[in-house]
């Protein structure tokens, strides 16, 4: 840790960042707040509505359903991606030419535009022309993600695992390579099993990076929009309509601004709350 000195002039260094981020964050946020407490009949005439929209959103079954779908999705992908990412990172080579090859190939999905990810999985999973869909049907599994809710759900989860597990792998790997060899030698002298090495040395050393991984994966999966929108359009029915997809439907589809504004703020608040918990945990680990 660096011994920081107190210097109020440091504010000057931060001003450009504050100006740019505030322009992008505060003005739009105020617009949303504005919508969330008013109603309109067009012609730019707005009426004060107080907390009406908030009560409506919080008591609407539609919001509850998207929220539960969102929780189920985020929970599922975290349960798959975190253990899988750790397992792959543990099995990766630590040195030699294969390290670069692995890292480059694994990072590739992270740099593909999100709608291309959706489109790619769409043509990969379609039952008539896609490799995955065609193969599954050929071996006798009835699979059509455009019609079956369960197939749609599984395909969306698989796409996310495909897209983001590498982030966990890279983070866990960065944690693993930072463990000095002496630790492993000491464990060997003590006759520790692989399992003991994992629980006593590797996992504790990865704690910090894994907190970052969970934080990033939580934030990004909770905000997911483009990939499932392109893959399934939120369907069949509403089965893959997550919070962001629902919000865009209400705001830009139905132009129901008051409702959308209130929902935005509730949504943002939930993400903030959970992220804050993880962030606090992370900072506590650091000091």
């Amino acid at each position: 840790m660096i011994n920081k000195t107190t210097n109020q002039k440091a504010w000057l260094f931060v001003i450009p960042v504050i100006v740019l981020v505030a322009f992008n964050a505060l003005i739009p946020l105020m617009t949303v707040v504005n919508y969330s407490v008013q109603d309109t009949f067009g012609n730019n005439l707005f009426f004060w509505e107080g907390t009406k929209w908030f009560e409506e959103v919080l008591s609407s079954p539609r919001f509850h359903q998207s929220f539960m779908r969102q929780m189920a999705f985020t929970g599922t992908i975290l349960l798959i991606e975190i253990p899988l990412g750790i397992a792959v990172a543990l099995a990766m080579p630590r040195k030699g030419p294969w390290v670069s090859v692995c890292l480059i190939l694994m990072a590739l999905p992270l740099l593909i535009p999100w709608n291309v990810v959706g489109a790619m999985w769409n043509i990969f999973a379609l039952p008539d022309i896609g490799l995955l869909g065609y193969s599954l049907n050929a071996i006798g599994i009835d699979y059509n993600f455009t019609q079956g809710p369960i197939a749609a759900w599984i395909t969306t989860v698989m796409m996310d695992v495909w897209h983001w597990t590498s982030l966990v792998v890279l983070l866990a790997y960065a944690g693993l390579v930072s463990i000095p060899d002496a630790y492993y030698q000491a464990a060997k002298i003590d006759g520790a099993s692989n399992w003991a090495v994992f629980w006593r040395i590797q996992l504790p050393k990865m704690k910090r990076v894994l907190t970052i991984a969970i934080l990033l994966r939580f934030m990004d999966s909770f905000n997911i929009y483009t990939e499932p929108f392109v893959l399934t359009g939120g369907g069949p029915g509403n089965t893959t309509t997550f919070l962001s997809i629902d919000l865009v439907k209400i705001a830009l589809g139905q132009f129901d601004l008051g409702h959308a504004g209130a929902m935005s703020l509730i949504y943002f608040f939930i993400v903030l709350l959970v992220s804050w918990v993880f962030y606090t945990l992370m900072m506590r680990n650091e000091t």
């Binding site: 617009t31 990072a107 709608n115 944690g175």
Partner: protein
């Protein structure tokens, strides 16, 4: 034992490559072949899809538009984040922890929440459908990320470096430009990689803020798909081409990428 262990990364990488292979496979097929027969490789190999993209301005301009706003965003984000990250890594000042968390909250904001207000904001200041609008909008999540990563890398540089330089009579700006920036060059490279990455892959805001003049390639793809029915071969070729810039930048930062994902703190 070693062979057995390396199976998992191999299977994982094959799983990653299959959809990409399928996309590239389709990009070399004609739409008729895609819809007509199922084959693991192109039977009538064609470059027609790529030719269309490289000769039709509505297609190739999409690539230029994306690259222009991504480059602008990367330059803006890293330039303003450098002094701020230095301040966070070296000094205590009033409200510093709250400010840092406030910055991060913007990385947490769902883009869908901001789509409509962004459209109104950038239309009202007359920047709608310009590259700079998308570049500025992406600052919302890229500046906090850049500050976060750079602060991590800078905290790894001992403070004695600064103190020695000042004792040697360096002015702050000379120290920052001549000594400090070269010291954390790899950190800056990694930060640029991440700002590039998140700006390149984001579509919701980029699409909302543009219509014709600055339309990103990814948006061109969605509109063409809906307008001309199923031009699948063309769609696949355009998609395959969007992978290339990412693959290039990964290659350049491959040795630092793992550390970068750990936000420079391993």
């Amino acid at each position: 034992m070693i062979k057995y262990k390396s199976l998992l990364p191999i299977i994982y990488i094959i799983f990653l490559m299959l959809p990409i292979y399928w996309l590239i496979n389709m990009s070399f097929k004609t739409t008729n072949e895609i819809l007509g027969v199922f084959s693991l490789w192109p039977l009538e190999f064609t470059l027609e899809n790529y030719r269309t993209i490289f000769t039709d301005p509505t297609w190739y301009n999409g690539y230029f538009n994306s690259i222009i706003y991504v480059a602008m965003n990367t330059v803006i984000s890293v330039t303003v984040a450098l002094p701020a990250a230095y301040a966070f890594s070296r000094y205590n000042f009033l409200g510093d922890k709250h400010l840092f968390f406030w910055l991060l909250t913007n990385r947490m904001a769902p883009a869908a929440v901001f789509a409509l207000p962004f459209f109104q904001l950038y239309s009202s200041v007359g920047l709608f459908d310009t590259h700079i609008a998308v570049a500025l909008a992406h600052c919302l999540f890229n500046i906090p990320l850049a500050v976060w990563i750079l602060e991590g890398f800078m905290s790894g540089v001992p403070k004695e470096l600064d103190e020695t330089a000042f004792l040697d009579g360096y002015s702050f700006s000379r120290f920052f430009g001549k000594i400090f920036i070269p010291t954390i060059a790899s950190g800056i490279g990694v930060t640029m990689f991440f700002t590039f990455m998140y700006s390149w892959v984001e579509l919701l805001l980029a699409k909302t803020l543009t219509s014709v003049a600055a339309k990103p390639i990814a948006a061109t793809m969605t509109r063409t798909a809906s307008a001309s029915g199923y031009e699948l071969g063309l769609l696949a070729a355009a998609g395959a081409l969007t992978i290339i810039p990412g693959a290039l930048v990964i290659y350049f930062v491959r040795n630092h990428i793992a550390k970068g994902f750990a936000l420079g703190r391993v």
